[in-house]
Symmetry: C2
């Protein structure tokens, strides 16, 4: 079989091969021989670098979850305005699940194959991610920027939309990760019931000092802003 990825060290090649295989056929549908041969090695080579097949899954899952949590935290930390936070989180989360759909599929759909101990550890990271999203929606609701009767369920729906991108996204599709993310940002504003003006505290002066380019701030115009490019 053709070795996967550009020739780096064997350890990385095995990991990349495992990601591809687990994503394509699932953990239980993948054999250690699949992984080894996709990395251009003999079956035994896997055990020089990794303890077991489950260990590979654990490392992939932990790394993927940690990445996601970090990306969400950075997005939330990028602003004090809930609207900006929401947009940053949804954009980053969506792009991550589209561009990284291969590993995201393992992260989100192979949890049951983890050992009980490993699952417990991963579940804690997932709760961290959910907590961040809930925090953004609650903050927006608290300052009147969002109108939602259940921030908890709305946050769940927002995560749900992003996660499911990993399921349906195809590289051959017409919509690329950025375009999907743009659209999902608009959908997110609708979901949380974003109000026209960010109502509180400082106005545009402090807000425009953010890292990202200050977009026009009419949150929900009569004509939808959703890009059609």
């Amino acid at each position: 079989m053709i070795p996967i990825g550009n020739a780096t060290d064997a350890r990385s090649r095995l990991l990349a091969a495992a990601v591809e295989s687990f994503a394509a056929r699932g953990f239980h549908g993948t054999t250690t021989r699949d992984i080894a041969s996709a990395a251009g090695m003999s079956p035994a080579a896997l055990y020089v670098h990794y303890k077991s097949k489950e260990d590979l899954l654990y490392l992939i899952s932990r790394n993927g979850h940690a990445q996601t949590l970090q990306l969400v935290r950075e997005a939330v930390g990028s602003s004090n305005d809930p609207v900006e936070q929401l947009l940053a989180v949804v954009r980053a989360f969506t792009i991550h699940h589209a561009r990284g759909h291969t590993s995201a599929r393992i992260v989100n759909y192979e949890l049951a194959a983890l050992s009980p101990d490993h699952l417990k550890e991963i579940a804690a990271i997932r709760r961290g991610i959910e907590k961040e999203m809930r925090g953004v929606v609650e903050a927006g609701a608290a300052v009147g920027a969002f109108r939602t009767s259940s921030p908890q369920m709305t946050a769940l729906a927002l995560l749900s939309l992003g996660i499911d991108v990993a399921r349906w996204y195809r590289d051959e599709g017409e919509w690329g990760p950025e375009k999907i993310a743009d659209y999902y940002c608009e959908l997110a504003l609708r979901l949380v019931g974003a109000q026209r003006e960010p109502p509180t505290m400082e106005t545009a002066t402090t807000l425009s000092s953010g890292t990202t380019a200050p977009q026009t701030r009419a949150v929900l115009p009569d004509q939808t802003r959703i890009s059609s490019t």
Copy 2:
């Protein structure tokens, strides 16, 4: 192992056992011995009633997809008003994926385990489901009841939300299928940019008689309509 389900005929017990097993551990994570013993039978009994393990998956998947398509079509057929159609579809779809999360997990996450021929057949049903949802959003957009720049992507997001319920739903959770469906109906109205009032009987005829009737109304109600029960 304890036999699954109330003692009906062996064939049904095997099918129910397969649904439980596939949903819990995935197709490849389930052995034919798991299924047989969960149905309280010997491993060979499975082959009296089914051709193969994959045949069981196929039957479960086909039945589940057919059910979903039917439910979506009935919902769309229940009204001529796109708003009502949307609410009916989202409600039925959401409840289906919550209450039937076990089989819905197989339907949505075990497609890769189907044989190529079976997958082709199932994919056709899935396209039918997508077509129905897209039709509703497009119809709503056409009569000015919805505001969305991409009915296609909005329809995808609506399906996405519903499908992902099967992933996160837990029977022990606080929110039951109906309550989630109520909430998701409100979210759906926001997603499609539903205009303020679903047309009443009188206005409906008036509005639908005109070709466009571009209602310049507020995109979202100032007070959220999401029920807080």
